[in-house]
């Protein structure tokens, strides 16, 4: 038991190592020295203060989305629509930022609430389509993602286009009081980190220590018996989706109000999909989510420097993370094949 428990906590390192090996091979093929490349990547992520802050700034929305996904996965829901929920959160926050004028202390809370509402309502659509329309959340999520992105493009090129003319790139920068206060000269907002940490702690408590968390687990493990035991599956599923959407929406607000200063075309930048990978890599163990999300952020930020140093494109960072996930799928199955047979009961 002890060794298998130790294994379970350590095994996320195995796929990471596997992915590094395969990426090294790729680097060789493209004629770059792997060691130097990884060094450049590390430099790019933690080389100096501004780079580390940039990693943190990327980490916060990723952590928020991953935290939200912990709730939906607990309830057995595949919230592929999280990408759209992030976008709708950003749209809602931008609407407030563009239409209200107030000092920061008033405006920022309103923006945050609006973003959480926006994400939650978009998620509720998926949930209601599932419970009432009997449509699998994966399919409605895919369609709603597309609609959210097109809606953003419409707003940017139409009603919200900057006064000097539509550029398709984004709206005009928001008023300064609408933006989250930033740390030094970076894109990192300490306030957003505080919110993300609070959200993570609350979700862990809710899922581990409350009756609601138990109900979600019952739904996720066996919908039918949960229903027979009197759990209102429809209500809990919609709530789970809405909580996830709210956190994703908050992530979207962080993107638009601190990473950028306006609503942009690719406001999410795939963070929702990446969050799915984070939760997958953590194998639903909650405390692994923040470090893995941080690692992903570091890899992605680092690969931008890699591009400057070695003329390799930054998409390599994306490939590295995806390879990791594929390796997780491989090693995740080792668990199933019986290396550690004991069921994970503490999740």
């Amino acid at each position: 038991m002890n060794t298998s428990r130790w294994f379970r906590w350590v095994w996320p390192a195995v796929p990471i190592a596997g992915a590094l090996v395969v990426t090294s091979l790729l680097l060789f093929l493209f004629g770059a020295a792997p060691f130097e490349a990884f060094q450049a990547m590390y430099q790019g992520a933690f080389g100096d203060q501004s780079k580390t802050l940039s990693v943190l700034a990327f980490w916060v929305p990723l952590l928020l989305s991953s935290t939200g996904l912990l709730i939906t996965f607990k309830a057995g829901l595949w919230n592929i629509g999280i990408e759209g929920q992030i976008v709708m959160g950003a749209v809602a926050a931008s609407w407030v930022a563009l239409n209200l004028e107030a000092p920061s202390a008033v405006l920022i809370p309103i923006e945050i609430v609006a973003a959480m509402l926006g994400g939650a309502l978009w998620a509720a659509l998926s949930a209601v389509l599932k419970t009432r329309g009997n449509i699998h959340e994966i399919f409605s999520g895919l369609a709603l993602n597309s609609i959210a992105i097109i809606l953003t493009n419409y707003l940017i090129s139409g009603p919200w286009q900057p006064p000097e003319g539509g550029t398709f790139r984004g709206t005009a920068p928001f008023q300064p009081s609408a933006l989250l206060p930033l740390f030094a000269n970076s894109r990192f907002s300490p306030l957003s980190l505080i919110l993300a940490v609070i959200a993570f702690i609350l979700v862990v408590i809710a899922l581990r220590g409350t009756f609601w968390g138990l109900k979600l687990k019952a739904i996720g493990v066996n919908l039918r018996s949960a229903f027979l035991l009197g759990v209102s599956s429809e209500r809990e599923m919609i709530l789970a989706m809405m909580f996830c959407g709210a956190l994703a929406g908050l992530g979207g607000a962080v993107r638009t109000l601190s990473w950028f200063d306006s609503l942009r075309q690719s406001i999410s930048g795939g963070i929702g999909f990446m969050a799915l990978m984070v939760v997958m890599l953590a194998n639903y163990r909650m405390f692994l989510v923040p470090p893995i999300a941080l690692f992903f952020s570091a890899v992605l930020s680092g690969s931008i420097t890699l591009q400057l140093r070695t003329q390799l494109h930054s998409s390599l960072g994306g490939i590295l993370t995806e390879l990791m996930v594929l390796f997780v799928l491989l090693f995740g199955d080792w668990a199933k094949l019986g290396i550690f047979r004991k069921k994970d009961d503490d999740g």
Binding site: I80, G133, N145, I149, G270, M274, I319, E322, L326
Partner: protein, 310 residues
């Protein structure tokens, strides 16, 4: 202004481009139909399409041979399909997430290869229109249906072929059995893994061709994220089509016709916000899903890896 839409030339133009634009959806969705019929959901279609599109474009660009380009897309698609099969069938991974992994891998890999090899957007001369003798001379109908490029014809031939294979052959029966009741199929000596490997590789090949139909027949360019969500729509179209090739055809046509309409609206400068028009197909899909799902049922074993009971 709106009246301009209802002239014969424009209507014929819309219908002809609608038929043409439906090619990538058709290839990808028909391939995915086989996969889902056998109980495997592959959400990574988009990623495979991107890799297929790049392989086809790059090979054509270097060799100036369209057939080699198409072959490259088929090979790359097949390899990716094999990867999906290993992950979903042998390793029994969660299909909802592993597909997203395949998508992100294809997105990153195709971009990296594009930057390292081409660097900038280049153009190739893709498959040109083939005028079918006699048929293409029929007024209106000829222009809509029989003056298309080779891959368009191929896509439309694949619709009845897919229907025939799935409904009328032993192979189709095996695929359906494996997707509905793998235990029973296994008992009768059908190799559940074997059938699923076949459908995944076939689906990968079809996705690869779908990508090629974009990069060397429809658009004749390659750039990063060329497919921009098209592969995800293809997966949703399978659902919309009720896992039937004919349903998939109807779905693809609705989607591409509305898209063609929206393109012409822009061409004619009709003052409808183009993004509203772009959104129409998606909203339609959701509405159609609500209606469609009430009458069809997904394959029972969809997304469920098969394990022999002990």
């Amino acid at each position: 202004m709106i009246a301009e839409l209802f002239t014969t030339t424009v209507l014929v133009g819309i219908l002809a481009s609608g038929i043409r634009l439906s090619t990538p959806y058709l290839f990808a969705s028909l391939g995915e139909t086989f996969g889902q019929k056998s109980g495997v959901l592959n959400l990574g279609v988009e990623g495979i399409m991107l890799l297929g599109a790049f392989a086809a474009f790059y090979t054509t660009f270097i060799t100036e041979n369209l057939w080699l380009g198409l072959l490259a897309a088929i090979i790359v698609g097949g390899i990716m399909g094999l990867a999906v099969a290993v992950i979903s069938v042998t390793l029994k991974a969660q299909q909802g997430i592993s597909g997203i992994g395949i998508y992100l891998f294809g997105l990153g890999m195709s971009e990296l290869l594009f930057r390292k090899t081409l660097g900038t957007v280049e153009i190739v001369s893709g498959f040109s229109s083939i005028y079918i003798p006699f048929l293409s001379d029929i007024p209106i109908l000829g222009e809509i249906f029989f003056q298309q490029n080779l891959l368009v014809y191929f896509a439309y031939i694949m619709v009845p072929v897919s229907w025939f294979v799935l409904s009328k052959t032993t192979l189709g029966l095996k695929i359906r059995a494996v997707g509905e009741n793998p235990e029973a199929a296994d008992t009768l000596g059908v190799s559940v893994s074997g059938v699923r490997y076949f459908t995944q590789i076939f689906g990968g090949v079809m996705s690869g061709i779908a990508g090629a139909s974009l990069s060397i027949a429809l658009l004749n360019v390659f750039q990063q994220n060329l497919t921009s969500g098209l592969g995800f729509i293809a997966v949703a179209l399978v659902y919309f089509g009720g896992w039937r090739p004919l349903g998939v055809l109807v779905g693809s046509l609705i989607f591409s016709m509305v898209n063609a309409l929206q393109l012409w609206v822009q061409v004619l400068n009709i003052p409808i916000p183009s993004d509203i028009a772009v959104m129409m197909p998606y909203v339609l899909t959701i509405l159609a899903l609500v209606i469609a799902v009430q009458r069809v049922r997904p394959p029972s074993a969809l997304t469920k890896p098969y394990e022999r009971g002990g």
